[in-house]
Amino acid sequence: MNDSKLLSQRIAAGDSLAEHELFRKYDGEIETMVRIRMRHAVSEQDREDVVAEIRHAVLVSLRKGAFDPQAGRTVGAYIAGIAANTIGQFFRKRERGEKFVTGLDGEPESDSRSPLAELLDKECRQELSHCLNKLKPKYQQVLLLRIYEGKSIEEISHQLGIKPRRVSERIHYAFKLFVKICRKRDLFSI
């Protein structure tokens, strides 16, 4: 049995230290997921509330022993599922005009800044901008059109006069290069 599954069993047995260990392992992924899925028209406070609610929901579930280590699903996949449901719940409540209320009741606070938040610090931001500038102009262009201008693949295809499939390939390759450049600069080592 791997470490995560043991952790889940310790949490079900009431081990609060295991709860801290669990979030030390998965907080970065949760925060990244929330930032990506809740990128548009959501305040930083709302994002923080959702992250807190995900942590709460994960703990309630694991404390009840709802995670079955024998079911063939990883703890990460289990937490990712809870996170996706919580984010979906936030948007459904907002559509109905209801307030998103977190169920926090003294659960462990996050004891460190997430890796993504650290990446977005001013100093690191400059490094990342430098890496983005290492990309060829044609890759920078599709990233700007897609992410900054929010254009669809079809709109970009029409604007550049290339097939939509090539636009997608160019975006994929731009991110791949960017990650490689960052790794080369040891910007974010595993």
């Binding site: 990128r39 937490i79 599922g81 990342l128 990233l143 900054y148 975006i171 991110f175």
Partner: protein
């Protein structure tokens, strides 16, 4: 941790730019929550997307549409105005060039006065390094591409055909065309050819023995400058 996800790059980019379906997103999230390689890739891509979404045009000063930077780079090659080299080789090569000139001069002074030795002296002159190209070859001239390989390696000895090869790692739809230019050590252009593949072989009209420099270019950037010795078999 090893990750054997075959479409990792597409998934990361698609996830960050919201091009995946809800099911694809959930499947990928279930994976990257346990995969440090993908998790790192997602975090970096998310950070890039965040920066671009907030401040894209200011961050990317040289995106396409303002190709001034690439043009300037090409002008460097053909306008004969290299940037100063940043590595220690800029001190080594002038010294090497001076030493090589001295050797050639000695050969000219002490060579017996027959035709064969005059020819040898001319051939020896063909091996004198050319400082401008030496500088370019020591600089990292390419910008975006990763995992590139170029052949021959700098300083290689070729003695039959001249085979120039490169591998950019770009998708095939993106990797074309390249322009290959071959120069001798007097900056004379010996060959210029547009190639859609990843290699160029020169069988016929082979140049005289000497040191040669080759430049690999795309429409908007200088990808590589390399050098090799060519000695007839």
């Amino acid at each position: 941790m090893e990750c054997n996800l075959t479409e990792r790059d597409q998934l990361i980019a698609g996830y960050v730019t919201e091009e995946l379906s809800e099911k694809e997103m959930r499947d990928f999230e279930a994976h990257y929550f346990e995969c440090s390689v993908c998790s790192e890739g997602v975090r970096l891509a998310a950070a890039a997307a965040s920066i671009l979404a907030e401040d894209g045009p200011r961050v990317l000063a040289n995106a396409a549409g303002s190709p001034a930077k690439a043009s300037a780079k090409l002008a460097n090659v053909f306008g004969r105005s290299p940037e100063p080299a940043s590595s220690s080789r800029r001190y080594v090569f002038p010294a090497f060039a001076t030493a090589a000139c001295a050797v050639v001069l000695m050969m000219l002074i002490f060579a017996p006065n027959d035709r064969r030795h005059e020819e040898n002296a001319v051939v020896a002159g063909n091996f004198t390094p050319e400082p401008y190209f030496e500088n370019l070859a020591t600089q990292v001239v390419r910008t975006g591409q990763a995992s590139e390989q170029f052949s021959p390696e700098n300083g290689a000895n070729l003695d039959a055909e001249i085979r120039l090869e490169w591998r950019s790692g770009e998708p095939s739809s993106e990797a074309a065309p390249y322009e290959v230019v071959l120069y001798n050590n007097k900056r004379d252009e010996m060959l210029r050819s547009t190639v859609s593949g990843s290699q160029l072989t020169i069988h016929d009209d082979l140049p005289p023995p000497g040191i040669y420099y080759w430049a690999l270019l795309t429409e908007d950037e200088l990808v590589h400058v390399g050098w090799f010795y060519y000695r007839k078999p």
